[in-house]
Amino acid sequence: MSTIITSAPPASAGSKDPGHGGGVDYLNHETSIASWLLTLDHKRIGILYLVAMSAMFVLGGFYASLIRAELITPKGDLMSSDFYNKSFTAHGVIMVFFVLIPLVPASLGNFMLPLMIGAKDVAFPRLNLISWYVYMIGAGFTLVALIGGGVDSGWTFYTPLSTTYLNSNVLLTATGLFILGFSSILTGLNFIVTIHRMRCPGMDWFRMPLFVWALYATSVIQLLGTPVIAITLALVGVERLLGVGIFDPRLGGDPILYQHLFWFYSHPAVYIMILPPLGVTNELISTFSRKPIFGYSMMAGASLAIAIFSFIVWAHHMFTSGLSPYAAMFFSLLTFSVAIPSGIKVFTWLATLFRGSISFDSPMLYAYGFIGLFTIGGMTGLFLSTLGTDIHFHDTYFVVAHFHYVMVGGAIVGFMGGLHFIWPKMFGRMYPEFPARMSAILIFVGFNLTFFPQFLVGYLGMPRRYHEYPDEFQVLNVFSSAGATVLGVGYLLPLLYLPWSVFFGEKAGRNPWGATTLDWTHTESPPTPHNFEETPVVTGEPYKYDTLFNKESALAGH
């Protein structure tokens, strides 16, 4: 199947021959705990991230379940308003900063990037490990803050609320996030240098898998955006400590400046979350419809365009904050233009599917879900970028539903698809297909049941961030909470069958999906410690499929 890719003349001498099956791979060549905690191997670091983020995801999900439980009834009968504030802040902080932002780049990206471009590792393996420790330290600070009393500012830390009026652990949380930012910066820096300097011979820019393009665009945003939120959070901390009014109108400062600085990072951060799953989806759609991506260069360009646009639309979060009408019109127009590269992506996938040999394997089920949910999330974003309608929708559940469609329906579903896709490469084992499909379907159904009613209830005017609401909103809220339960079951299943498969799953073989990128054709499953025994030489485009593909024979190792 790899007729387009040939190997360099064999040059490795004296290295251990891994053989096929039962040989030396990155999982079993060292097994002590220290070998994991001190590893410089990008594959192991990816798994360290995966474990840490899964734990954070469960914790963030726990807080989400508290919120949904409270909202079953119109009265605040389960928890105090104060504790409710702390719950949605904890949910937001954990999910945004500790799960969604690093989710795909740090786990799947770390694992796949060097494999996809034919490198032995990322450019700076030590920095890569440091970034994981920085993540853990940041998480430690934040968890101490959340457990030791909580934070109730919302994940946005708006001033002067966060700097002047709150007595909760704002400072400690901000410290945690400040530290965490460097983890994101280091990962982004590492990826950019890796993509620029570590590609194997013949791997031109336009022969890279599209996931790599997405990681590149993401890394640019991480690199340019994260330092701004770091200095902004530092200013919030200094203002709390010293009583300087940099964002406090009573002391001459300007709270809108905070919003500008905050969203200058936090809007692009949305694209940090969604671009890598968009990239993963390319790999899924292409592999499981056995067709090259329609319009490869448009797709690569769209990733970069989204990265660029992401930096010039931030003020659409501030249409009701007293922005000048001219600035608001400008930002509204720019925001609409993000729909163009996003639309390019969706239509490109549809064109790829058209007359493809489409399968319904579980990664592909996630990809189908992704296309639909991302489209709904994106289209409802247009309601919010329209100045007139945004006045009505601002800070209602419509906004909550919109960004959950993009963040959960897009990013998490895309991640799940990617994880199922990459799993055989990671551990050399297949997960059981039936529960995997069940999980994909449950997540899709549960997700829609949870969040579609929130569009309606938001349209009717229910504001976000209150633990009580008028009686007439109860039916929709009960639907939403019921959906959250289904969604929870959908997430729980992979937590059971994926770890199970590591030990008991069917052996996957080198390329169970019949994919054509280097990570599948030129590495073992699981890969050897240095990925490639011989540096591959690429002579053609990344996606080129045999028309006939037999999964059974692929699993048998051919």
Binding site: P227, V238, L261
Partner: protein
């Protein structure tokens, strides 16, 4: 980018021969050098944006409170700022020589030039220390200690050759640099004056930007000390000197930040005052 295929795993495996010069995951020394170099440039990009948040805040408040920013800027001493600028440029020159020495593989010269860089950098921070001490006497630290009425009065007294604190009652000492304690009527006067808050914003920006800059210098000292120790032991060769080059880029960046800070903070008063 077309990587030459000549070097390969083989080389990575017997790299004990040339020790640290080529890490296992790079194909060639050139690739490793390019990667380190690009990495440093990327890091400096993040630094630009890190400082950028403060520069953005400065721009906005400078626009909103032009008059007070002019007065506040006049409190600072442009002569000391100018001397520091020259000192820092000298440190950049010595740093450039250090990098040149590294390219030529002259280990001892690296140590000497980096040492000279630290000396100039230390001189800069020494001058900064005395500036900050003077600022403390004027009560312009943006804490509860801040007093704009006092600062303006003492500053104009200083300019006209008066001896500030002699005329003001008992000599109580404050908590920063033993600065004199501000009498209660000055605190009241500040509370009535909205410009005091605006001036405090200027000095907040002044101290946060210059101290963040100073922090970068101190971190630079630490890294230079480590590199000096390695260089002393002949760790760097004409083939492998990425760390020296990287600290060079870093130091020039730190220098460049100051080139922006100096006019924005010290010369602003003269610039705005000239129009009146």
């Amino acid at each position: 980018m077309q990587v030459t295929e000549k070097k390969h795993a083989q080389e990575a495996h017997d790299d004990h021969g040339h020790g640290h010069e080529l890490a296992h995951h790079f194909v060639s020394v050139e690739q490793q050098h390019d990667a380190g170099n690009l990495g440093m440039w990327m890091f400096l990009t993040t630094e630009v944006l890190f400082f950028g948040g403060l520069f953005a805040a400065y721009t906005i408040y400078r626009y909103k409170f032009e008059k007070v920013f002019e007065q506040a800027s006049n409190i600072l001493d442009p002569m000391l700022g100018a001397i520091n600028t020259i000192v820092l440029i000298f440190s950049s020159v010595t740093m450039a020589f250090a990098v040149r020495s590294a390219q030529q593989g002259k280990s001892k010269a690296i140590v000497a030039w980096l040492g000279a860089t630290i000396v100039f950098g230390g001189l800069f921070l020494g001058i900064k220390y005395f500036e900050w001490k003077h600022d403390a006497q004027l009560h312009v630290f943006p804490t509860s200690d801040f007093n704009w009425t006092w600062a303006r009065e003492k500053h104009s007294e200083g300019e006209h050759g008066g001896h500030g604190h002699d005329s003001h009652g008992p000599e109580l000492k404050g908590y920063i640099f033993n600065s004199p304690v501000v009498p209660a009527n000055y605190v009241e006067s500040d509370a009535r004056n909205p410009e005091a808050k605006q001036a405090k914003l200027f000095f907040f920006l002044y101290f946060s930007m210059t101290s963040l800059h100073a922090l970068h210098m101190v971190i630079g000292f630490g890294v230079m000390a480590v590199i000096m120790a390695y260089a002393w032991n002949g760790y760097y060769t004409a083939n492998y000197y990425v760390p020296v080059e990287s600290i060079g880029l870093y130091w020039h960046f730190v220098d460049l930040v100051w080139i922006f800070l100096f006019p924005l903070l010290y010369l602003l008063g003269a610039h705005l005052g000239a129009g009146h």
